[in-house]
Symmetry: D2
Subunit: 344 residues, 4 copies
């Protein structure tokens, strides 16, 4: 299958190239990137030096499958003709995630370029929408924060364990902000520093809320989501808090075990989610496609606390995108994204 990457020069795009290069079912044949048109990929990005391609301005040859690593709005603009041509595509940007164009406009400050395509887009949280993903042509790859939060809360939501007051406190490495320069991401400023941001409302909040509502009809979550920047390159850890419903779980240690059992059952057979017995660490997913989930009960307050970790550029972006491509193309789901984490 011939595959193209739109905007290989951002972090999602280069991570796609890294992973696709070793994908046995795929030939990477076209990479675009406005800032480096005409350059050899390996000259612009030396770690991709084994890939013999020249960066082009647009998709230049027939490809069977397209990934877009462009920012929002630009991504929808670039993908719309591709989709209309009948080529399957995965959009790593946020453009096809929110179902409601009005909500899109509110959060992204722009009219949606092709709202008519929204109904056919499938939200690509693989573990929740596997059948729909396998059938779709246009996949909206989830945000990195939503992936970590939804996989942390999914089983508790599905089993009706928790009430609607949900707090998601996420900590992300700096690559999540992309390759665009900014003082907040300048090394001497970001290093040895932690800060909260998006306190007035981060764009991943409506995505999380939409998906929780879709997952549990009738549930009206009141979600507070606060992301934080921590001094590392890759990785997200989300700590999710919610009240446990009375009687939802046995008391004491038995409750803990029942909870973990329920999570294990829920994720049974999942190739890229693991329920842990010890608190997970982001480094345990470095450069790999896993999401590690650790649910516990705060017995003093009868709250559920779930910690999840993943690599924002892999399970939070390019890895999940390829996992979804595999489903869309009929390949084995883990093909090309089954490397173990590069720990330490």
């Amino acid at each position: 299958m011939k595959v193209g990457i739109i905007n290989v020069t951002g972090y999602s795009g280069m991570e796609l190239a890294r992973l696709l290069y070793r994908h046995p079912e795929v030939e990477l044949t076209c990479v675009t990137g406005r800032s480096a048109v005409g350059q050899k990929l390996g000259d612009f990005l030396p770690h991709l030096g084994d890939i013999d391609l020249t960066i082009t301005e647009d998709l230049t040859e027939a490809v069977d499958f397209v990934f877009s690593g462009l920012p929002q709005v630009a991504s929808a603009l670039a993908l719309t003709p591709v989709i209309r041509q009948g080529i399957k595509a995965v959009d790593i940007s946020a453009d096809f995630r929110l179902k409601d164009p009005a909500e899109y406009q509110q959060w992204y400050g722009a009219e949606h370029p092709s709202p008519d395509l929204l109904p056919q887009a499938v939200y690509g949280l693989t573990e929740w929408y596997r059948p729909q993903i396998a059938e779709c042509s246009l996949l909206a790859n989830p945000g990195c924060y939503p992936t970590s939060a939804l996989l942390a809360l999914g089983p508790a939501l599905k089993e009706g364990l928790i009430g609607e007051d949900i707090i998601i406190d996420s900590k992300s490495g700096v690559s999540g902000a992309g390759r665009g320069l900014g003082l907040m991401y300048h090394y001497a400023e970001a290093n040895e520093n932690v800060s909260a941001y998006g306190l007035g409302g981060h764009r991943h909040l409506p995505e999380i809320t939409q998906e929780i509502k879709a997952y549990v009809p009738g549930f009206q979550p009141r979600v507070t989501f606060i992301p934080h920047l921590v001094p590392m390159t890759r990785g997200i850890l989300s700590t999710c808090y919610a009240p446990l419903k009375d009687g939802a779980l046995p008391s004491g240690k038995a409750g803990e075990e029942a909870l973990r059992e329920l999570y294990r059952a829920s994720y049974k057979g999942e190739p890229f989610v693991r329920v842990m017995s010890q608190p997970p660490q982001t480094k345990q997913t470095l450069a790999n496609n896993y999401c590690l989930v650790y649910p516990v009960i705060d017995h003093r307050t009868n709250r559920l606390v779930v910690v999840s970790v993943l690599d924002n550029l892999v399970k939070g972006a390019a890895g999940q995108a390829i996992q979804n491509m595999n489903l869309m193309a009929g390949f084995e789901e883990g093909t090309g994204v089954d490397a173990l984490a590069a720990y330490p």
Copy 2:
């Protein structure tokens, strides 16, 4: 005033030495440390090379004031004779923080060495207990996490803005774990890594709860406190969540302004707490004694979110300890701890 430091070889102890050396009212005359007895301080800790002292096993000469940087239990054992001799002391360990010896035993797994001294110990959150601190002989210096959480929540608690469901999600640099070796603090493991710990209950939880209850009589907080390790040396950021009581604040932007005004009024004149107009960063307090506080409203859920930052070794340990010593000794409160942050 002749001052001694018990256990100068831990991070709190060496930070005390660093700050006291430039304190104009104090002469550092004795430093102890079991692992380095007989060595010159500057040979064991080269950054303290300007201080011409030899590390001893015990307090060897008459001192007027003592700091202990020992771990719990050992600290109470070492300080008890000092206190009984009538020498004023600041304990940086947790030994004199919890008022109830049974609670101490439960959380620290040891019988309290001198429970009869507990009633005279004053909890040294300077901003809350200034008059009592000025009068006391035995000061229990607050934990780093409690300092950040209590200063973040204080004004909202005092004004009755919030309900009892409180969540404190803290992110700490690795020096908070001390100088003792451990795989979790081994560079190759801790670097590029974030993890949650203490999920079964961290020792700073009862301290936080005790102090909130003491601060607001009748208030019965249900606190979930989850600390996280982030890859930096110094700094704590705490994100605190609590439900706002209906009508506690005006709606919309006016509420935000009223909230900030209320926090500013509450901390008016405080030399080391600043209410910020922008989200603060831990680096803005690097090596300095400030706690920066930023309260906001999550209007979608009517929750209070307060972010606070401080340097765990300064305002969270040695700096606040010296601030308290200044009060106890009748010096100007900021003497010796008024350096600006070493940003970037």
Copy 3:
């Protein structure tokens, strides 16, 4: 081919496990590790959770090939019976690198456990000894620093470009020191810190000198080698300095081009060495098996300066070890170690 790893619990051992798990020609069937005997590999090292093995004390079953990730001396002791049994082995420790047992004793402070095996051991710098490696049964995997230095200097040595005054200034990430605890590797000490060490003579110096002499008969290098610890987990950058012989290269820009051309010719066809046109960065080899080499001329002083980078745990340890195993077993050389770097 059934493969065993002795001491999977060190960084080299766990990196071997990570890479071998995806090696298509190999089945990892046995992993030993004294500190964790009886534990599931995935419980002890969660990032290896996909590998269903229990850690044993000794090699418990028939294996066709053995890697040792033990420290020196212990490694020779463990491997000697394996070798005598006729099983092929790669030793990642230093035990079989120095040809002269007296030199071994001088630098490692112990009598060599099996000096009779030294003559059959082949030094596994793949690019220099490919034919010998393919024939050998006992392979001494090169040290991380020597790999970076020898690949940097090789073409200049071979072509007789340089004189004998060689200075190698290396900068290594902290994982090079292994998983054993030490204050120098304690996060709060190693972070935001650079230091030189081994100034009295590092153990990799005799290895470098031996190999240069073997590579260029009659050449008597005077090597100064100073390693430095830098605050990152993985990666080595070596900056190598040597006087250019008069007339060895054309003057001016032509000299630069001739030099690079000569390096390119020398490494032509090499799967894991690349001669760069821009100064390389350690991150360009993160978790990958490349060594990137950049030679330049300091025209003001007529010196050669060569910068090389690699990942100390991959090309500097486990990756090169597998590259060598591939040769020894008759597999394609790059099998299992051809992943691109996990940049950024």
Copy 4:
């Protein structure tokens, strides 16, 4: 003394403000900065919130002493009228370091704005030029790399111990590159990464060479200087290599002792240079004005190796600038820059 800082918004400028605010002999009365004119200093740079000043476009009031933290060329342009007015000034940029305007043009690519001022400028390596500094009106503050290299080599040069083949391999934290954005300093690129730069010739090379020649008349050094970027915010470590002259020092351990004794004698009484008995670490000078120097002999090759460390923003910039101001103004040399290092 009323002091102004031109360009407080760069790292040197803000470090000057941090240190001057606590300087007992100085009142900071004016700070300029083009990107933030009209803003309160504490709004733009929250860590300077205690300083109640508004950022202006130009020096707005009578000041008695001026520091410039502007980049080269701009700095000379801004300082020239100040100097001509008879106000004493310290230039942290490179504009008045090179004595020869032609060399300035060659390395900085611009004609010098006021070459007539060059003869009166004194190179401010305090330890070498104390009397001249005390008398001067225009001080050229040394570069961070030259400070580390010259203090490392000074005693060996002065005593005639070494030959002319000098190699300086320096490792710098990223703040040395300033606050201007660039991909090389983007967190996700600079973190977990080491690289060499300036391989064609760094601007600090002619400065080092000029000063060595001035220090040892007749000595014609052949200096290779290669700087490296390492992932930390502050700190420089320079490793300097030079051949020892035959017979310059006793052989064996006695040579080492003679060498250290000679260095100690040379730096006797210096308030900010310390000759170490153990290899120094950059962190031992964090946020402090020391340069730590460690000379050793590589006996195998009869080479001198000297390691030096300093904080590039303090002894390498703002701290040394204030040390020089103290001399120029007749204050005690260490005033305001005598804080101990903020280790860890």
